[in-house]
Amino acid sequence: MSQHFPALIIVIPLFSALMVTVAGWFNKRLCFPISLLSLAAVLYSSIGLLMQVLSRQVVQYRLGGWPPPFGIVYEVDYLNSVVLVLVTAVALINLIATRISVVEDFPDKLGPFYTLYLLFVTGLSGIVVTGDAFNLYVLLEISSLTGYALIGMGKEHAPLASLHYVFMGTIGASFYLLGIGYLYLVTGSLNMVDIAGILPKLYGSKVVLIAFIICMTGLFIKMALFPFHSWLPNAYADSPPGVVGLIAPLTTKVMVYVMLRITLYVFKPEFSFASADINTAFVWIAAFGIVVASVLALSERRLKRFLTYVLIAEVGYMVGGLWLANRAGITGAILHIINDAAMTLCIFLAAGNILRQSRSDAFEDLKGLFRKMPFSMAAFVVAALSIIGVPPTCGFFSKWYLISGAIEAGQYVFVAALLFSSLVNVVLFFRIIEIGFFEPLDDHHHQAPEITRREAPMGMVISLVAVAVGLIVLGIFTRDIVTKIIQFAIPEGIT
């Protein structure tokens, strides 16, 4: 069975999604255990796959038994396997942590909710392991559609925000499809390794250049890089609490992975980094995006929306890190995928806890939370320190790699943007911590239905604390991660 891990990763959640649909019509209480078991099995398979890759370097799985380029194959190498473990781990932890709020929000639609959840995870895992460009598009659309539906059920202006997300997401995916079409026209193949073999002869062709630009534009729209970021704050801020911890850490990071895959493995570095001016232009765009996101974050007065702007800035880190075109920068970008997913999960879970207990996330309503919700706020502080970049949390190490790569490449604008955003994060997070710590909780005896500021239920707190501890553990083991995995994920041509 272990040689079928790549297929099991997709088949198990797909089957479980169907089981959950059937179970949802007959007995709602079966939905959560089925989802839990299936995600645990998927996590086990993905860790097993990582072990296989560590010993064998590349695992190839032929679906349908056909050899590439005639059939669809999975190519799992170092870059894939670590992102896959990340996706499945985040999905599992979020499932456990948000069980109670899901039952509260959708009491009569538990079956469809968990079906959409599992299909979303299927789509993302498939995007990460596939080696076929068109298959990536189909899986992208599965995860996008389920994401639209999951976000659309939030409060307030969620349907409108989700509809805008539909429009932007469809434009992005269509551009990606168009880019693949241009590539197919001149290479005749859809398999990524095959295309990479045929392309070097065609580097001078205008078609390849336009295909690259269109593909990249589509991916930038889907990962909310400035100036295409307008859909993200509304969509994530209004989404239901059980959903934001799944979609926010994962969607943008998997899109960054796809960008890495296309830039480094399909169009080889000789093409992508050929012109130093283009590299600088991309780094400037990323730096500008970081600065704009940080400035917009400064004007926010509500916790969840503020965090979405932090998310947009993090995307800028990763894109800029890739286009620094040196080993330190790309190491920083890949390390930041892992770290940022963990940090985002932790901070959004903490914000979810706070929102659930306080019913409002405006900064003024966060007074005195440290006394009432010590564990959640402690995890929030750890995640905040990681986003700011304080050792020994993981965020420090990825920033270190990014800054050293930027200095090595001479991109001082990027260094300045990184430092500026760290400064803004310091200001804002410490303001929140100050409000939560020092301001006294007002006693309002005469206000009738007062918000009871108790700690969140045990299940939510335990998962949250586990993720916060994981941030520190990831930071301590950075060296191992970099030397054993990330170092081999970068092609050799890069210095």
């Binding site: 068109f134 659309e141 659309g152 349907p159 409108l160 509809l163 434009i171 168009l178 079409g181 197919y184």
Partner: protein, 134 residues
């Protein structure tokens, strides 16, 4: 002049599909009504489907169905007689994806309508502004 005509004759189908794509994209960006934006999205996706299908055309070739059946194994099949089947296969998938996206977008538009009682974006934004001021 000759090269210009030969370029136009050999590529005008792609230009037409790019025009269609741009019409769809323009509708999505500019129009105020949400249903018109959804229609623009559909135009964009459909024009990409047409683009792909036209990649598979071949001069003097016929449908990719082998009409002599599978009882004569000695019958040799030449690839040059049949058009390229792969873009058709890919676009069967893309059509289904476009329909699914249309379904979800319409469901979301229905939810927006039941919340704001209008489908015009400027009216929705003014409603949001007024509720924010309160």
């Amino acid at each position: 002049m000759d090269t210009l005509i030969s370029i136009i004759v050999s590529k005008y189908n792609y230009w037409i599909y790019i025009c269609l794509m741009m019409i769809g994209l323009y509708a999505m960006i500019v129009k105020n009504n949400l249903v018109k934006k959804i229609i623009g999205m559909n135009i964009l996706q459909t024009s990409i489907i047409l683009f792909y299908v036209s990649i598979g055309a071949k001069k003097g070739a016929t449908l990719p169905i082998i009409t002599h059946g599978h009882n004569g194994e000695s019958h040799a099949v030449h690839a040059v007689d049949f058009i390229n089947p792969l873009p058709h296969v890919l676009m069967l998938t893309a059509i289904v994806v476009a329909v699914a996206t249309l379904g979800v977008a319409l469901a979301l538009a229905l939810r927006v309508y039941s919340q704001y009682q209008t489908l015009e974006e400027d009216e929705i934004y003014s409603q949001i502004e007024m509720s924010r001021k309160k």
